[in-house]
């Protein structure tokens, strides 16, 4: 009986302490409250042992302990919050190191590796930054943990390349409560607006650029009819949707025929298999092949070689690709890929600009595009504009390939 009463009182003490702690609202506060509650529980335990004979005495002691715990928790919470703010002010001051946390998707492609390297180069100690980098290995739960870890560390800025586009509202609210600005890069967050800026490439623009270039190039070459085959990326990925929609928009406007669209899953083998089948189904009926990344284009090249289809600049079939990684640009230079539309992985310099704007008290734009380049050989470079904006193409040279990721 005594033990029952004691346990009820202990629970009450814990609840009181927790509620007091949560009043502080900050993550640190509730952690502190948890600690305080633990202390209270320990105190009550001792009390219980000591006053095991007299129930009344034990109850009194425990209640007192609970009261003290609640007060202590509230106090600690307040102190922790103040301390956190002080630390931040100190760090944010001129000349201090800026702490940046970066929750990266993983390391699944050359593109991703380039993105990581760019962040590590820009946010180096030499540039006055202290970068906490977490590779989340394509695990969205791990990414949420990483962001919470950054909040606990009390970093100044958090950069997230979200693995999934939903489920972010709670953790971003925690960041906002801790007064840490969040910058989202590359992929998007759909269900929350509690971040400062999104920095990345616009796949739709890339698709449109490919379409507009094709229009200008076809006019220059005197090609009347466009019959295109598309090898899509992984179905449902933002790159696939953007690039397909962008290109289709121009195709619809110009009245081009899109013979077929099938997915090559962004892989070389996928590109090979799909193109192998296209070459048989649409023998002699197509003059444009659009691959939604370079790897698929490599596969399509092998398949067209085997089918005896001639492609590239100066041949019947125009081969368009996206990504423009080093290996892709080499194929452009070799006269295999007619034009390659970049998706720039080097977002970090732009992100640094956002952070500098925030440091000086400014408000950065909510959506910032990383400049993408469009690559081709000189003969394939034509003037075109996307959404009314004139575009400049980059000629592929050894230096350009060397500098590419």
């Amino acid at each position: 009986m005594k033990r029952k009463i004691l346990s009820v009182l202990l629970t009450a003490a814990f609840v009181a302490a927790t509620i007091a702690g949560c009043g502080g609202a900050a993550q640190q506060a509730s952690d502190a409250a948890g600690a305080a509650a633990d202390t209270a529980a320990a105190a009550a335990d001792t009390a219980a042992d000591a006053a095991a004979d007299t129930a009344d005495a034990a109850a009194d002691t425990a209640a007192a302990a609970a009261d003290t715990a609640a007060d202590a928790a509230a106090d600690t919470a307040a102190t922790v919050e103040e301390a956190a703010e002080e630390v931040k002010e100190a760090a944010g001051g001129a000349g201090g190191t800026i702490n940046v946390g970066f929750a990266q998707v993983g390391h699944e492609s050359d593109w991703r590796t380039a993105s990581t390297k760019s962040a590590q180069d820009v946010f180096s100690e030499a540039n006055g930054y202290n970068l906490s980098f977490v590779d989340c290995d394509n695990d969205s739960a791990q990414q949420l943990e990483a962001v919470r870890g950054f909040i606990e560390q009390g970093v100044d800025y958090i950069i997230i390349d979200p693995i999934v586009s939903t489920g972010w509202d709670t953790v971003l609210a925690e960041c906002a409560d801790a007064d840490i600005p969040v910058i989202v890069i590359d992929r998007t967050i759909d269900d929350s607006d509690k971040y400062v800026s999104w920095v990345g490439s616009d796949f739709l623009t890339e698709g449109k650029a490919a379409g507009e270039w094709l229009k200008a190039y076809a006019e220059k070459q005197g090609i009347k009819e466009i019959n295109a085959l598309i090898i899509q990326g992984t179905t449902g990925s933002s790159a696939q949707i953007g690039r397909t929609d962008g290109f289709s928009e121009i195709a619809d406007r110009e009245g081009w025929t899109i013979l077929d669209k099938q997915t090559g899953d962004f892989t070389e083998e996928g590109g090979q298999q799909v193109m192998e089948s296209y070459c048989k189904s649409y023998e002699g009926k197509f003059n444009v092949v659009v691959c939604e990344n370079d790897n698929e284009a490599f596969g399509a090249m092998t398949a067209m070689d085997n089918a005896g289809v001639k492609y590239g600049p100066g041949n019947d079939v125009i081969l368009i690709s996206y990504d423009a990684c080093t290996a892709g640009l080499k194929e452009v230079q070799a006269g295999k890929i007619t034009a390659d539309f970049e998706c720039n992985p080097l977002a970090a310099p732009t992100v640094e600009g956002v952070i500098q704007t925030l440091q000086s008290g400014g408000t950065p734009e909510a959506k910032i595009l990383v400049p993408d380049n469009w690559y081709a050989l000189p003969d394939q470079i034509v003037d075109f504009s996307v959404d009314g904006k004139p575009q400049t193409m980059v000629e592929v040279t050894d230096d350009v390939i060397e500098a590419q990721y």
């Binding site: 099938q262 048989k280 790897n295 005896g308």
Partner: protein, 363 residues
């Protein structure tokens, strides 16, 4: 005359490969219907022509060749998988990842560590090829040890390499796709004469396994261990050693398949080589009419199963099925094929045919 006919029918009906073969032809028949419906030559799917390529001379060209070519890896994997299923009543789910690891190891050696794009080989080609085989065999030995000597369930034991092998491959390749754009290395995935090399490699693997099983008692040993490991041990067989051996064979073939797959794309794409191939290999064994409960196996069935899976994929490409719907059609076809081979349906048809013969006899 009629008695001859009926004995012929009986032979066909009792032929263990009947259902797998029928399934394969059903899948291909879809193409005849489709081509006839759109007014094309109904047999265009089956036409094989000689085609002039831009890079490798004259080659055989046609969708049937595509099926045989693209189905090679799964057929090679299915060989090892059949033996593993038979001996240990479990599946080796690590073969896809082991393919990726072997390919990564091979390309890492050929390109040199840290080199991401090269057309020069850093070591002789044979070293890379043997390294791929050795890596596959090593992984197989690891799985085999866990299953045979530590008594860990096959699914759990192979789960380790299923998740780890791909990651090790990434480490070997420094997290990059290693491109080895070398025609000698690419030969394993290209053409030898007029035939795609993967077809030849698959044929050699199949022939070797078939010959070994035919000329030695290994096949019988594997089956007897699969049916009852204890009884086999009492009868004087080293059950553990035989189970271990099947995993080693399975790993070796995963290494071969990995080499072929990476040679096709002349690169080691650790994230994508052999992705989901373990499932296709297991499915091939099941489609071939083999029981996943171990014991008796039918190698030819598994191989036909492997090509059936590729026939489905190629057919869906040929029909131009929109790619987001393709898995649904694939699933429907697989359900039908597996259902017609299931015991209750087989029993139902047997009963019906018995009834018919009885009625015929009465009349």
């Amino acid at each position: 005359m009629s008695s001859k006919d009926s004995s012929f029918m009986k032979k066909i009906k009792s032929w263990p490969l009947l259902l797998p073969v029928v399934a394969l032809f059903l899948v291909m028949a879809v193409n005849i219907l489709h081509d006839a419906a759109i007014g094309a030559n109904p047999l265009s799917f089956f036409t094989i022509t000689l085609n002039q390529t831009t890079s490798s001379g004259t080659i055989l060209y046609g969708r049937i060749i595509d099926i045989l070519n693209r189905g090679s890896e799964v057929a090679i994997l299915a060989l090892g998988m059949t033996l593993v299923v038979s001996s240990s009543a479990g599946t080796d789910i690590s073969v896809g990842s082991v393919m990726s690891l072997s390919a990564s190891f091979c390309c890492m050696l050929l390109a040199g560590y840290g080199v991401a794009n090269t057309s020069e080989l850093a070591v002789p080609l044979i070293v890379g090829v043997l390294a791929a085989f050795a890596m596959g065999t090593l992984c197989g030995a690891f799985n085999g040890t866990l299953v045979a000597y530590f008594g860990i369930q096959p699914m759990v034991a192979t789960l380790i390499l299923f998740s780890a092998a791909r990651a090790i491959g990434l480490l070997l390749c420094n997290n990059l796709i290693v491109y080895v754009r070398n025609s000698a290395f690419g030969a394993f995935g290209a053409f030898t004469g007029i035939l795609p090399t993967p077809i030849i490699i698959a044929a050699i693997c199949i022939a070797v396994v078939a010959l070994v099983l035919k000329n030695t008692s290994l096949g019988m040993y594997i089956q007897s261990v699969g049916i009852n490991p204890k009884a086999s041990r009492i009868a004087g067989l080293n059950s553990k050693k035989i189970i271990f051996l099947t995993y080693v064979i399975c790993g070796f073939f995963a290494g071969v398949a990995g080499l072929v797959n990476s040679s096709r794309i002349t690169s080691a794409d650790s994230n994508n080589i052999g992705l989901y191939y373990e499932m296709d290999a297991i499915l091939a064994v099941a489609l071939g009419g083999n029981s996943l409960g171990g014991g008796k196996f039918n190698l030819a069935g598994s191989i036909i199963g492997a090509y059936t899976i590729q026939a489905i994929t190629t057919t869906l490409y040929a029909l131009g099925v929109s790619t987001d719907q393709a898995p649904v059609y694939k699933a429907i076809i697989v359900v039908i094929i597996v259902a017609i081979q299931s015991a209750p349906l087989k029993a139902f048809f047997r009963k019906r045919s018995l009834k018919e013969t009885k009625e015929a006899a009465k009349a």
